[in-house]
Symmetry: C3
Subunit: 140 residues, 3 copies
């Protein structure tokens, strides 16, 4: 049994945003999978997806602080500067965090840990809407 | 054909630990898959999984050295400090390395390269037991 | 329906190399999948795979610059130096970027975003040929 859906997430400010239910609400068919896998795929090169702590907003704020420090806007060693000082850093951050999540499904639910949530990592100022593709499959 | 198993890995000190056989021993059914995929998923936000060199303990020690330097304990820019100086760094390291592995299965074995092994990356002091979920599927 | 193929990519200099069509050309059977998943797996611990911008060579050059700066050759804190000053940094970079890609397949094509391409990330000088395993499955 295969499920595939493209989801458009609304534009968000630069930073790390919890989007777990925004994504799972779009694929109610997950509930019919007894065992399976769900993949979530970001179709962009300046935003990414990761799993992390789903409770404290300050964790998400600290993520932004650390990544902005590790890959600073306008880093003088970058040569690809045509699209703005936040563009090349966004590409690097995107690859550090990755474009896809692969999540186990058990008894109709994502088998996440208690504290795990899905982060949309928006690395640009003015990144706009973001498209993700959810593909899930398993046994009913 | 689907296989899914939750495995509890015993508490380990902060650092990078080779756990390949500890994991594969728990899913002997992999041997019956002629072609397939196995995913390993960490259900925590302060420990992670990666593949790397399976021979030299000094490689794993150097991993700890580099990650502790890149995301230092008690970094003054972090605001989420309530759970200790190693908590927020653990979250960042966890996302840098990732929560899941996706491994090809061929002729009943994980199709790893000669030098590849599965690392449990424990980012906390006193992280405790860690739960991973192995989900595999394929053709017998 | 399962497809699995091991592909040998020719030796390349250290850096980030666009290999999308080199990989997809080897698995023409993808075209017969209406919906599915394709995974690409790097069987090495000093090279990796990522998705990023598929147009500007200067983006790929800047990737090399940033990663060489973040994990410098001959970093004095590394103890695993036997295999050369670029070996241990290659291991760390490999885990930062990851060994596998998980890509949705829709209507016979990888459902990549407009600007996404597959990068082979070669972290060694003289890394030699690199083996990747493509495993895809889905519904025709």
């Amino acid at each position: 049994m295969w499920i595939q859906r493209r989801i458009t997430l609304p534009a968000r400010p630069r930073g790390f945003h919890l989007v777990t239910s925004e994504i799972t609400d779009e694929v109610p068919e997950l509930r019919s999978l007894k065992v399976g896998i769900a993949t979530v795929f970001m179709q962009h090169t300046s935003a990414s997806l990761t799993l992390n702590e789903n409770a404290s907003p300050d964790v998400r704020r600290d993520f932004r602080t650390w990544f902005d420090d590790a890959v600073p806007d306008g880093w003088p060693e970058f040569s690809h500067t045509l699209e703005g000082p936040d563009d090349m850093p966004a590409h690097v951050k995107s690859s550090l965090l990755g474009s896809s999540l692969v999540l186990p499904v058990a008894d109709g639910l994502l088998a996440l840990g208690t504290w795990q949530g899905i982060y949309l990592c928006e690395h640009r100022d003015g990144g706009g809407e973001r498209s993700v593709v959810v593909t899930a499959f398993g046994e009913g």
